[in-house]
């Protein structure tokens, strides 16, 4: 029943409800697909026994005419989410075989609604990376290849495992997280849909922390409506996260398919990055034209501080990371490398446990927070962050949402950008502004480049207005009619 893996989340939920197939059959079809796709390295842990047990429980509830909104849905979980009794590593050696005795709020909500966990998904170490190459488990390989080439490409990062799993039909949908673009850039690289909701929409409790003022969870899915269905279940106030939004969660799926007539779309002129491939320019113009055809009004807006967002991010995120990652001291959980003194033990443990990129960022963070540099770097970056947020507030006076490309290129080759950290950081040039301002951003596939690789468009909304993004995303998805799938070369 391998065709079950080709279903959208929405169609799978409908099929389960109508008892056209069972949750166990659906889970087994995905487990078989996962076992045949190990060449992609998307999963760092497969949990077949748990998946089948959860699916059997779903079948019992469905048979009794009960069942939640995600009853029987076979999902993959990014390994940044703590899952009770199931190893959670954040892609790092330093967590070793850490097995959380608790469940993250977001995954708990998914299980409450009846979802089934297939396994844990690969990612950049502590979500620090844009290509999945910083993972302690090795990189994920993008299911997509350039036309006529066998060269392995990155699925993007940090949620590369989540994006690859969804693109290769190894999960109906997946959880992911986004601190500077880690949901949206992988979505763009793999022809999938991803949304980073408003900061605070999804609880951060039980998600391994990277940069707490920027981290947000969100879904990666096959369609805009699937993303809406999953986000509805993931969202909601949580007293265990002091930054969790107290607002009610709108019924996101009901906005997909709604008319977008009269909505004002802002096109930020500063997003015409130098050296951007002409295909991305063209796709962006196509997106503008599609929304115009659907009845939107298009206005030019200005976000003058755009080019400063990445440098500000590379102060703020490392500063927060150096503080958050101080907890990995080898004393209470994870790796410990013993030395002659306590300090030696700390230093040896962290040297052995952290990869190069994590070490780099923790050291930058320690530096910009250190005496004598705090004002010049950290405080300056926080002021620039305010400028960036103010740019968006001004733009949203004349626009209801913004349309931009998601990433400055299509998926690149594994190993291509590893020697130059700044070249890697520039992948997030169009996505990182949204994290700094705490706004929602949605990426959806809109076309293929000349090599046959997917390219994404990004919609940016006002704080707490994911609903408008789903509305516009639905219209763009319909107009773009993106149907391409990667050829399953990975199948064992």
């Amino acid at each position: 029943m391998s065709e079950l893996t080709h279903l959208t989340l929405k169609d799978a939920l409908a099929g389960l409800k109508q008892r056209r197939f069972s949750a166990v059959e659906l889970a087994q079809a995905h487990l078989d697909a996962i076992a045949a796709a190990r060449a992609l390295n998307a999963y760092v842990l497969e949990t077949p026994e748990q998946a089948l047990a959860m699916a059997a429980a779903s079948d019992a509830r469905l048979k009794a005419g009960e069942g939640g909104r995600l009853e029987g849905a076979a999902l993959g979980i990014k390994d940044l989410f703590c899952t009770e009794g199931v190893r959670s590593t954040a892609g790092s050696r330093i967590l070793g075989n850490f097995t959380p005795p608790y469940e993250s709020t977001v995954t708990a909500k998914l299980w409450r609604d009846g979802a089934v966990m297939l396994g844990k998904l690969n990612m950049d170490e502590f979500a620090m990376g844009s290509s999945n190459e910083t993972s302690a488990f090795g990189p994920v390989v993008n299911p997509w290849r350039s036309r006529g080439s066998n060269r392995p490409l990155t699925p993007g990062g940090s949620s590369g495992g989540s994006a690859a799993a969804v693109a290769a039909d190894l999960a109906l949908a997946a959880t992911a997280t986004d601190t500077g673009g880690s949901i949206r850039q992988p979505a763009s690289f793999t022809g999938t849909v991803g949304i980073k909701p408003t900061y605070g929409r999804c609880s951060r409790w039980g998600i391994v922390a990277f940069a707490s003022s920027l981290d947000q969870a969100g879904p990666l899915a096959k369609t805009v409506e699937d993303a809406a269905i999953l986000l509805r279940s993931m969202s909601g106030h949580d007293p265990k996260d002091s930054t969790s939004l107290p607002s009610a969660v709108p019924d996101y799926p009901s906005f997909v398919g709604k008319s977008v007539k009269g909505l004002r779309i802002g096109v930020p002129k500063e997003y015409r990055a130098e050296g951007m491939p002409p295909e991305i320019e063209t796709l962006w113009s196509d997106g503008v034209a599609w929304l115009k055809d659907a009845g939107c009004e298009v206005v030019e807006v200005s976000l003058p501080h755009t080019k400063y967002a990445l440098p500000a991010y590379y102060i703020i995120a490392p500063a927060e990371a150096s503080s958050n990652l101080a907890r990995y001291d080898g004393m209470r959980y994870g790796l410990r490398v013993d030395g002659p003194t306590l300090t030696d033990t700390y230093e040896a443990t962290r040297a052995a446990g952290f990869g190069d990129e994590v070490r780099r960022r923790v050291m930058i963070g320690a530096y910009v927070l250190s005496a004598g540099y705090y004002d010049a770097y950290y405080l300056k970056a926080l002021k620039v962050r305010r400028r960036i947020a103010d740019d968006f507030s001004a733009a949203f006076e004349t626009a209801d949402a913004l349309l931009t490309p998601t990433a400055p290129s299509a998926a690149f080759g594994l190993g291509e950008n590893t020697a130059d950290p700044i070249a890697m950081y520039l992948n997030d040039i169009f996505t990182v502004t949204v994290n700094l301002a705490g706004l929602p951003g949605l990426s959806l596939p809109a076309g293929l480049d000349a090599q046959g690789l997917p390219l994404g468009l990004q919609l940016i909304g006002r704080a707490e207005d994911e609903a408008t993004l789903f509305q516009l995303g639905g219209a763009l998805e319909k107009a773009a009619a993106f149907r391409a799938k990667p050829a399953p070369w990975w199948r064992a």
Binding site: P101, Y308, G334, E347, L382, K383, R386
Partner: protein, 95 residues
């Protein structure tokens, strides 16, 4: 500002990450490159701008000052590299 090997040594110490002597120069060059790129922030006029540490306007919520969980020593110690009779075992702290 360019970072030299001595500064890398100091920062590594602050970050509690051991860096071998032969890696100091390489890391100094890497971190200097990143900081040089970051310094374009000085082009932005931030006179009178309030620093923004959080995107949320709301103040921190308060809750009743009561015990909400606890008493789970075995669960908490389950992932410990070393433990003994309900305690974490750590290297000697006081000489």
């Amino acid at each position: 500002m360019a970072i030299d090997a001595a500064t890398v040594r100091k920062v590594a110490r602050l970050a509690r990450i051991r860096v071998e002597e032969d890696r100091l120069e390489g890391l100094a060059a890497e971190l200097s490159g990143i900081l040089a790129w970051i310094e374009q922030l000085n082009e932005v006029d931030t006179e009178g701008v309030a620093p923004m540490a959080s995107t949320e306007a709301v103040s921190l919520p308060m809750r009743e000052d009561v015990v909400t969980d606890g008493g789970d020593a075995a669960v908490i110690l389950a992932n410990a590299p070393k433990s003994d009779r309900g305690f974490f075992v750590v290297p000697k702290v006081v000489e």
